[in-house]
Amino acid sequence: MEQLLVPMMCKIDKVIQETPDIRTYRLKFKEEGLMEKFDYKPGQFVELSLLGAGECTFCISSSVTRKGYFDCSIKRAGNVTSDIHNSLEEGDEVGIRGPFGNWFPLEELKGKNLLIVGGGIGLAPLRSLIQYCIDNRNDYKDFTILYGSRTSADLCYKEETKEWQDNKSLNVILTIDKAEETWTSNVGVVPKILEEVVKPVIENTKVITCGPPIMIKYTIQSLKKLGFADKDIITTLEMKMQCGLGKCGRCNIGSTYVCKDGPVFTNEQLKNLPDEF
């Protein structure tokens, strides 16, 4: 066990300040050859450790189709993440274990319309999927992205969302909670925009959503109202984890280990879990 818990060292290639409290760290393995072997799927997560401060779970926010690096987007929230924000710069080293967990059901999504609903930092795991799908665009039909945050400053991946907006094969809708002077796009919380602006086609569509717990709750409610089946709503859960290996017991929800059986669940699976997430 102790050996499984030893991380591989990574170098920080680039630090991108996404919003005042979110940074994206572009990482490369220090040891040669590891980067090529590091194979992951959208939705999986890694354990990133700042030695001396601790270890935290982060989803990989880039796709394996973009070779040579991987991204982790980190929001300043607790002890370790503050330390990461305070002390890590380009060229510094962090430990990485992973990838762990399951992934978005890529095979199942093939030939389907995709509706991606994200909020705040919740776009990070979705970005991995979006990048993957853009790189395999022909496998999927209509592709809609709805992304919202509290203010325009809190929107992540600004450059990239612009690219997505310019991409003719994608339908990208951005929204913020409260009106701002310079903001020309939609205003309103995500579930409201989902019902009033997006008006998704229900047939042959899979919805993938991620965001703060409260947003997911209301998004799922409005999706149900719109007529989506539970099995077509896919979300990724957040739980406190320490090992990622199905041993430490923190991510237990009932008899489910989020780190092994998740973090990607359909709403159908979630309904069978005890209400402890």
Partner: protein
């Protein structure tokens, strides 16, 4: 069942123990402050292999240590170097004397979680290199209920050598596994009558029956397991947990609790990362950095504990996590009994 049963007496057993300690790396219960903990011993006088169950800590720390080093690191201008940790002190060939049956069962249960998906090689190594010599208790403790759970106390695969104290000072020693057989071959019992007795088998059974009859606590495990799995939302959990002070002792001394945390100890530019025990009764156990806590209230944590022991683990791995040793009840400062709790909850209406 053509295994030889050795019959000896008390003096013979003492000699047997002494020979083991002299020849092998041996761990046995050693008393400190009125509590027995498994420690490395070099003579029989230091330890007491027949320590009472109420006062004996479980043998879990010999397989899943209270704090294990994961890595050492040093950082300098050229980067961070992760160093190998020292050799695992528990990985060598060793013998454990005086392990209780419930602890042996605990190991069997832990095997499941450590051997699914990612295999914990360190734990496995410790298990493989250990010969477990388990003595059957003469009498049940006040809080024991091992006989009423989902396993057969007499036949546990984790016990390599079984010692049973029969009537008239007769002591039966029997190897239960190949490892145990080999061990008995290399550590022969002096002055033992080593023929196979069908009668001995019977006498051992008799001892078990007397032992099983001495239990104060008995539960209908199947019914409790079924009922508990249905009543997740019962308010009874709030009642039974109201006087819990959340001290975490129960998890730390439990022979099957296996949750851990990873913590770093840092001094200047170097540090060590440890894996140490943690408890689900701790409010911070599931608290996430953003402030969201799936189990903020005490009763939710208690529910997790009780359900994990009696329902979830069974669902997932097919075994009951609680082994019925009663240690949590003995150590609880406010005398909350998990036996009482699950019985009370299982009886409650949804």
């Amino acid at each position: 069942m053509n295994v030889e049963i050795f019959v000896t007496d008390k003096a013979g057993l003492q000699k047997f123990y002494e020979a083991i300690i002299a020849k092998n790396e041996t761990y046995a219960p050693v008393e400190k402050f009125g509590k027995f903990d498994f420690k490395h011993v070099s003579s029989l006088s230091e330890c007491d292999p027949d320590s009472p169950i109420e006062k004996t800590m479980s043998a879990k720390p010999l397989f899943f240590p209270r704090s294990a080093k994961i890595l050492k690191y040093t950082a300098d201008s050229s980067g961070t170097t992760v160093k190998e940790t020292d050799e695992d002190p528990l990985a060598g060939k060793r013998v454990i004397l005086g392990m209780k049956h419930c602890d042996a069962r605990g190991l069997q249960v832990l095997d499941k979680v450590y051997n699914w998906d990612y295999i914990d090689s360190d734990y496995q190594k410790r298990r493989q290199n250990t010969v477990v010599i388990s003595t059957r208790c003469d009498k049940a403790g006040t809080h024991c209920f091992c006989t009423s759970l989902d396993y057969d106390v007499q036949n546990l695969d984790a016990m390599d050598v079984l010692i049973v104290k029969g009537q008239d000072g007769k002591i039966f020693i029997k190897a239960r596994t190949e490892k145990g057989e080999d061990f008995l071959k290399s550590n022969p019992i002096d002055s033992a009558n080593s023929k196979q007795h069908p009668a001995s088998e019977e006498e051992m059974k008799k001892q078990y029956d007397a032992f099983a009859a001495s239990f104060r606590l008995k539960m209908n495990y199947k019914e409790i397991n079924e009922n508990l799995s249905k009543i997740f939302d019962t308010p009874e959990f709030e009642n039974v947990s109201s006087n819990c002070i959340g001290c975490n002792t129960c998890a730390f001394i439990c022979p099957t609790c296996h949750c851990f945390k990873i913590s770093d100890e840092k001094i200047k530019d170097s540090g060590v990362r440890y894996k140490c025990y943690d408890s689900c009764n701790n409010g911070y156990f599931t608290l996430m950095a953003g402030g969201h806590n799936p189990r903020p209230a005490k009763y939710r944590r208690w529910r997790q504990r009780a359900m994990h022991k009696f329902v979830y683990y069974k669902e997932r791995f097919g075994e009951n996590l609680c082994v019925g040793c009663g240690r949590c009840t003995i150590s609880c400062p406010v005398n909350i009994s998990i036996f009482e709790v699950v019985n009370q909850v299982a009886k409650s209406e949804k």
